[in-house]
């Protein structure tokens, strides 16, 4: 027998405890002829159990006859613990990763620094790589031979930047007038400050040394910096072997900068040998 809701008049099937149209408890509504004020919808105690039989709501009903499944709750201790475990686990993995990685890098990078030549030696790199000549590039300050496949990325009156065929490294050669005059040490300090400002984590590469020598006739300082190069969502550990020099009265500066990833330093230095050996300084 259908039960009529005293509030809205909807016919509800037997067994419904609440009106399927307006939600009024049917027992309460039925006991209140001329129902005017519905009971508060916030029930004071736990909700009654599921009504016997299928709930006849036009949209929702109990999914199955029988006890409702227990409400799923993840204890807060478990949630916090999961994150703490994540931190500890990843800390362990990260440290192990770094230890193993640096051990492998150390094994593979022995002697990666460009060997600064003693004064008078023609080149900072010992082993030239045979390449197909790609022509000569020059400006007011310097000129050098470009091996085949290398490209000029930028060039102005004082500096020339070229990239290797794989695009994973570059060489910048620069020379010009210093006004006021600066020593090689002054030029090195200027370059160090520039790197520190632009890449705050710049530091001397592990195991590298600062030495003096000459590069194709220019007296100066060799050293190597490592820093993080972030761009386009990538974070690359870059390495830059550097040379900064000056002529005898400090009126001309000489700079050579190699840039590549730290893991590629050794092979890149070998690759740049023909470029470095062919540098001719136009200003003396």
């Amino acid at each position: 027998m259908a039960v009529t809701c005293a509030r809205c008049g909807t016919q509800n099937p037997d067994g419904n405890q609440f009106c399927q149209a307006c939600g009024t408890p049917l027992a309460v509504a039925a006991s209140q002829p001329g129902f005017a004020s519905p009971p508060a919808t916030a029930l004071p105690g736990p909700p009654p159990g599921p009504p016997p039989g299928a709930y006849q709501s036009p949209y929702y009903s109990p999914s199955a006859v029988g006890p409702q499944p227990p409400v799923h709750r993840t204890p807060w201790v478990l949630i916090i613990s999961a994150i703490v475990v994540l931190v500890v686990l990843m800390a362990g993995c990260g440290t192990a990763f770094a230890v193993l990685g640096s051990r492998a890098n150390n094994n593979g990078s022995a002697g990666i620094l460009p060997s600064p030549s003693p004064a008078g030696s023609p080149s900072p790199v010992a082993t030239p790589t045979p390449t197909t000549p790609g022509g000569t590039v020059s400006n007011k300050g310097e000129s050098f031979t470009l091996p085949g496949g290398w490209t000029v990325a930028s060039k102005d009156d004082e500096s020339i930047s070229v990239t290797n065929p794989d695009g994973d490294g570059s060489v910048t050669v620069g020379s010009g007038v210093s006004d006021p005059a600066q020593t090689a040490q002054d030029n090195k300090a200027t370059i160090d400050k520039f790197f520190k400002d632009k890449y705050p984590d710049t530091k001397a590469c592990p195991g590298s040394k600062t030495t003096t020598g000459s590069l194709n006739g220019a007296q100066g300082i060799f050293w190597e910096v490592c820093f993080t190069l972030s761009a386009g969502g990538q974070s690359i550990q870059a390495g830059a072997p550097l040379f900064a020099g000056a002529n005898s009265d400090g009126s001309v500066y000489y700079v050579v900068l190699l840039l590549t990833s730290q893991s590629n330093l050794k092979s890149f230095i070998a690759e740049t040998a023909p470029v470095l050996q062919s540098i001719h300084w136009n200003l003396t």
Binding site: L43, P46, L86, P200
Partner: protein, 384 residues
């Protein structure tokens, strides 16, 4: 009582359980029917409040929200401790995994996937990881930082080529591809609500972010020694742990939520604006970051810029979800339940009459005793 707005007879309450309108208010809170002062998924907040947890974790009840906030805070504290200790590789790993793991716990807590965790997690989180690996590796092949930073000694300047690739092409391609796994979810018809689409999209976006972060920082992970001076790593860690996953998750969540709305036959300016907002926000995030970095701006300013973009995206998601919940919950029938927000035992239709929470955003355990609604509008024009 009779609702002030839909004029239906509804049980007494502060909110209409049928349409969610705030009863007895006029204009002091703005439009009482749209009730933007009471966010439908978490009525204690305004729609325009850029809260991370209540936006991207919409099924959490009142207490659970605080527990997840504490868990997130604990994770960030862990990152900070590792950073201060100089364990940068460990800090990178924790940062990359933090939000995705937190979301996995959320999916388990809310049981959004109901009885099909493998399918749902595979197509959302797993699909996002696969797309992330493929897209990021291809992106690295296209964009080589050494091509654009040939001479670090040169004057700061923005490379137009890099800006086009990193700031325009990559964000658009990513936004298209990140939504693909969720789009092809085989049992999507079982999850018709917009809030389901949002959660699936966020999961896919976080999977993508995890893959992108790990590949992007692979050089640091394989090169850095175990212990280094912390330096300025905190900025990159903040982006990796918080801002990048929130951007990727929010943007994909917005796009997938819009696809879900379209499948229900509801595609209006708000939804189209959502897709546009996701793409524009991603472009602004990636392009702005590149320009600011190339201009040698203070890293803190870059973080602020990223946070502003993510905040704007979160607010738009709340706006979209709020209106979707108001529309979709209005068709629910009556049932007894416990409001996950105010914990009151109620007899309600689509909204808690006590606090106004849209009950379609309740955790699955609370909805489990109800059968899926027979809403003709759910499958318009044969779409599913």
């Amino acid at each position: 009582m009779q609702c002030d707005h839909c004029a239906q007879d509804v049980p007494d309450g502060v909110f209409c359980t049928r349409c969610g309108a705030h009863q007895g208010t006029t204009e002091e809170f703005g439009n009482a029917k749209l009730r933007e002062h009471r966010y439908a998924a978490h009525p204690g907040e305004h729609v325009a409040q850029p809260s991370v947890i209540t936006t991207l974790f919409p099924h959490l009840g009142h207490n659970k929200i605080h527990e997840f906030r504490w868990a997130f805070t604990a994770g960030l504290a862990g990152v900070l401790v590792l950073y201060l200790a100089g364990l940068i590789t460990a800090a990178i790993l924790v940062s990359a995994f933090l939000v995705p793991v937190l979301y996995l716990i959320y999916l388990y807590e809310a049981q959004v996937y109901r009885d099909e965790p493998a399918t749902i997690l595979g197509f959302t989180l797993g699909g996002g990881i696969i797309v992330g690996i493929v897209v990021t590796i291809l992106g690295r092949a296209i964009y080589n930082p050494f091509d654009y930073q040939v001479n670090p000694l040169g004057n700061p300047g923005v490379s137009i080529g890099a800006l086009l690739v990193v700031g325009l092409v990559m964000p658009v391609v990513q936004e298209v591809l990140k939504a693909v796994p969720a789009f092809f979810l085989p049992n999507r018809a079982d999850f018709p609500e917009t809030v389901d689409g949002l959660v699936f999209g966020v999961a896919a976006g976080l999977g993508f972010s995890l893959a992108e972060g790990l590949i992007g920082f692979s050089s640091a992970l394989t090169t850095l020694p175990a212990h280094v001076a912390p330096g300025n790593w905190i900025y990159d860690l903040a982006t990796l742990a918080v801002l990048q996953p929130l951007l990727q998750g929010s943007a994909t969540g917005m796009v997938v939520a819009t696809i879900w709305r379209y499948r229900r036959g509801r595609l209006a300016g708000r939804e189209i604006g959502g897709v546009a907002m996701a793409v524009i926000a991603h472009i602004a995030f990636a392009g702005g970051t590149l320009v600011l970095k190339d201009s040698a701006v203070n890293p803190l300013a870059i973080l602020i810029w990223q946070a502003v973009v993510v905040g704007a995206l979160l607010i738009y998601i709340r706006y979209l979800l709020h209106h979707a919940l108001l529309e979709e919950a209005a068709h629910m029938g009556f049932a007894e339940t416990v409001c996950p927000s105010c914990h009151t035992h109620i007899v309600a239709s689509g909204f808690c009459p006590n606090c106004g929470m849209a009950l379609t955003a309740a955790p699955n355990a609370i909805k489990r005793s109800r059968r899926p609604r027979k809403d003709p509008a759910a499958t318009p024009s044969g779409r599913s």
